[in-house]
Symmetry: C2
Subunit: 218 residues, 2 copies
């Protein structure tokens, strides 16, 4: 019974995601779904990314959180249009769904945008199951989270197009084997692009920005 | 439709959780549900905790993960009986449910145990909604995850009886305001006990162990 309903929810979601994707394509907007555990540094990465790609790439952000507008407040300071979604309004959902994105996107004039970034709810499990109509999915993993996360949460790494290993500035203070982390990522997703960087210091951020620019313009 | 079914699932879970709780009480076993984001250091904390409380407190562990037996393999080295649950066998569940705990616990001779620790799936959202029949819930938050997580994931902090701020050995290398973190925890859960410690160096671990010992013997 539960399984059937969950399947139905996912089917409805997939249909709406496809509608989103068509609408975004018609308007020439590239949509990026950014996912991670809580506290991996998505918001800081976006602050630094937006500062570097604007105004060349005209961007907007949809931020998903269960509660608070902390992240939207931080991102609004970059000057980009931001819409915050709080999922506690509909049951504290642990992920963003396609219909929620459709509503949130109606706050933007899509004609004026090249890139729409969705900062998903901090959760390495459930958001991976919900297509929101994006063109690319990126997972952020903090090096403080350990090397084995790709093996323990394989679906997230399988569905994403690139992985970012963030907080590399902390590597000197951790027992972290970065080669093992990359190898684990590629065990579940062969040839996946991996960007080792520090959003805080911006070291290594250029390769990530090049990849993103190429995708948006491609 | 979806909401109704989810409620029914939670009702069934609550009934089974109550059965678990009675069964554990009859056998004199205290059950601790340990929850956190991925990579907050639950397994290292358990390794160090078990090394210090055994054999005084006769312990066993149930480990929940979507995939891999990494954590169970690590914990088995402490000498305690360990059962690993892989939720990918039943849909990649993002949490442990009461019936899963009932099955896993049947692998132990409960008569010989004082403490059963459940290391839940790494997820700061969904496990908070599922009673598994535990006597205490503890949330682990790594200081690398930022100060605002209690406000963004309030349910987890509301349902838990204590919070651990782990990886305090990294504080010199972070812009982390520990008073703000504790204040945010107590905004959603007034007077909650908070243990600042480093599972890696064991600094600060004694207060946590005293609290745990008191609860188990209580």
């Amino acid at each position: 019974m539960e399984v059937k309903v969950v399947r139905k929810v996912l089917d409805v979601n997939n249909t709406m995601a496809e509608q989103n994707r068509q609408r975004f394509a018609e308007k020439g907007v590239f949509v990026l779904n950014l996912m991670s555990s809580p506290g991996s540094g998505k918001t800081t990465l976006l602050e630094k990314t937006l500062a570097r790609i604007m105004p060349d790439i005209r961007s907007a952000v949809i931020v998903g959180d269960i509660c608070t507008t902390n992240d939207a407040d931080r991102l609004a300071k970059t000057g980009v249009p931001v819409v915050q979604i709080n999922t506690d309004g509909f049951g504290g959902d642990c992920h963003l769904a396609a219909h929620v994105i459709a509503n949130a996107a109606s706050n933007f004039n899509l004609e004026t945008l090249d890139l729409l970034i969705v900062e998903n709810v901090g959760n390495l499990v459930c958001p991976a199951e919900f297509d929101i109509g994006e063109n690319a999915r990126v997972v952020v993993l903090s090096v403080t989270e350990g090397e084995d996360k790709p093996l323990k949460y394989p679906l997230m790494f399988r569905v994403c197009d690139a992985a970012i290993l963030n907080k590399s500035d902390l590597l000197p203070y951790l027992d972290y084997d970065i080669e093992a982390a990359v190898s684990n990522i590629r065990k579940v997703h062969p040839n996946m692009p991996v960007f080792e960087l520090s959003a805080k210091t911006e070291q290594g951020i250029d390769s990530w920005l090049s990849w993103l620019r190429e995708r948006v313009r491609g």
